[in-house]
């Protein structure tokens, strides 16, 4: 039973971490390697608003998420727009930006275990004899809400439909009057907000450390590669696969191999099915 409960929690955690990354890639084909850095600055941002500006928790979260949206849009408008279409340059630019943000935070003294966010609701419950804290239940709840919202948004909202159109065929979408750069900017903003949202939900389970930025990036990449770059359904399925395998590994093998699962999943996917479970990069598969 503990495997089922903690497997679901872990899977939703991974899905929340990765959904922003896969959204940006799916729509604008931009690999946002600053994704982990945005996750971390959201945590520090909320902490800053609460402890330095003495704002209440909910307002701090909203402000931080709005700020992340603006940062995401700014990154596209002032950095990525200039290198769009050059895959290597996009990776280098976003990765460098992420590194710069994380190392800047470290340099400014954001280190140690003193930076924490309060849980939304204190306490724990027992499910079939397995103890679980309420924040983890909230992770599942918010995971379901976010996934449902993103599905509804991209199926029933005009902007969401335009984003889907871009993801399916950018040139055809442009012929229909959809502004490619504007959509990519929106995708970056939403992707950053989603990254921030995952931080807000997951960081109360632990503490805010700069190193989390690297872990979140690796896990997001793993989920997206296994699911198929740009495929949201694939990403969610991959999050569940990796999430459960990680918990089974910790339960029956060793905690030591927890992170290895994600890395191994990347390698195996690239060898056996380069386009991932639901990826649309058939040309890559054909080449292999």
């Amino acid at each position: 039973m503990d495997i089922l409960i903690y497997g679901i929690v872990n899977s939703f955690s991974l899905a929340l971490m990765a959904i922003g990354f896969t959204l940006v890639y799916g729509i604008s084909r931009l690999p946002n390697f600053a994704h982990g850095a945005i996750y971390v600055i959201t945590g520090f941002g909320v902490w800053w608003f609460i402890h330095k500006l003495h704002l209440n928790y909910a307002l701090s979260i909203i402000l931080a998420l709005v700020l992340m949206g603006l940062i995401g849009a700014g990154v596209y408008r002032f950095v990525l727009i200039r290198v769009r279409g050059m895959a290597t340059s996009e990776i280098i630019a976003t990765y460098a930006l992420g590194l710069a943000i994380l190392e800047f935070l470290r340099w400014r003294g954001f280190k140690g275990m003193t930076y924490t966010l309060p849980v939304f609701i204190e306490g724990s419950i027992q499910i079939a004899g397995v103890p679980i804290d309420l924040q983890r239940i909230i992770v599942i709840g918010i995971g379901i809400v976010v996934i449902s919202f993103m599905w509804l948004f991209t199926h029933y909202n005009k902007t969401g439909l335009a984003l889907r159109g871009m993801a399916q065929d950018e040139h055809a979408a442009m012929m229909l009057g959809i502004d490619s750069d504007w959509m990519a900017l929106i995708a970056m903003a939403i992707g950053s907000i989603l990254s921030g949202l995952s931080a807000v939900v997951l960081l109360p389970l632990g503490n805010i450390v700069v190193e989390a930025g690297y872990n979140v990036l690796i896990l997001s990449i793993a989920v997206c590669i296994v699911g198929g770059l740009g495929s949201w359904g694939g990403a969610i399925l991959a999050a569940f696969m990796i999430g459960f395998v990680q918990i089974l590994t910790v339960r029956y093998i060793q905690s030591h191999f927890h992170m290895v699962v994600a890395l191994l999943a990347i390698i195996l996917t690239l060898i056996l099915r380069p386009s991932g479970l639901f990826g649309r990069q058939k040309e890559l598969e054909e080449r292999v």
């Binding site: 280190k111 003193t114 924490t116 632990g206 503490n207 450390v209 989390a212 905690s255 927890h258």
Partner: protein, 428 residues
Amino acid sequence: MKKKWFVVWMVAFFVSLTITTLFSSEKASAQGKPIVIGSPLATAFLYGWDAERAIKLAVEEINAKGGVTVGKEKRPFKVEVMDTRDLEPGVPVSDALLVVEKLILEKNADFIVGGPVRSEAALAAMDLLSKYKKVSILTTGVLTPAYHKRIEAEYDKFKYCFRISGEVGWMVTGEFIPCLMGIKEKFGLNKLFIMVQDVAHARAGGDLVAKLAGEKGWEIVGKEVYPTGTTDYSVGLLKAKDGKAQVILIWMDMPETAILLKQWYDMKIPALPFGTIIAAAEQPGFWKATEGKGEYCMASVVNAGNAPSNATPWTMKFVEAYQKKYGLEPEGYGTSSSYMAVYVLKDAIERAGKLDSDAIVDALEKTDLMGVYGRIRFNPKNHQIIPSVDPNEGAVGTIFQWQAGKRVVVFPPKIAMGEIKLPPWMKK
């Protein structure tokens, strides 16, 4: 007109430059040439930044009293700190070695005090220190017995290396096992679950505790090894609960261990957390960081003075001086030992009367002074500080327990300030 003003400005500039140079050189000669202490430390982590602060505090105190007497000359200490990043996941050992070499070659360090902090990096740095014949005093991190065993095995090569802080062998046999036996005797607990970080000192320490505790009647119900940077311990904690563990022995130096304690509290795991090395719980800010969820967690801070106690007359003086300068109590392992290392170095330099490495090695081997954490002496064969549970005999350690927001020293008995308590959900 413009030309005239240009000449006036140029003259003024050169006059001010000359005056500044003259005054600064006069000041330097009045204080003597600084003795440079190079400190390679993982400054983003507790064992790095607390060492840096303590070294700077000692240097400031010594310089304020006139500096170090080298022969007939008074010379100040100067500290050069460089970040080794060796406690960060994924950073190769070679990076720490580059830092040590930079301190020696670019910063012209006369001595190395502090790290590298990670055992693997410190062991690798020994050859470098031997190559440049630089006297080094390890003060933080590095707990592996391999360090002093290597010095003993190849004394002539590694005689420049000293360690003024603890090592796993003594900590386990002299402190952790006796403390565990005290818990067994007092509360009747005998089931142990071990959680360690995937680094050399923690793996070795965990294995040694398991072996010795097993021999002393403890049942080892499980062992988990976590990679550096782990942020979820829930399944491991459930394993401990399923195995009916009564004490969870934790050996981790990463800040994420605060998460482990929060999860332990949220899941109400009925086992006493005993952090033999647990960087997060050592710090005064731990209580606030865990919102009090870390209560009852025990932690070793390796040397006395890293938490308030009356081990020696100097202990509380140090605690108060640190608190006055940095606004909080000494933070954990590496604080008092780094502070003492500077005083021990001063003492050795003054006795040697020169900075020559071989003379300093001889002087350090003859060190015998009452410090912050007891009597400071080095074993002349392996340059490891001589430990004890009595501060009058040697360097004493400290194990404390978080009780009502305070770090209460519970071991060794000679310096204990309180008794070990069990969390309410463990009481029958």
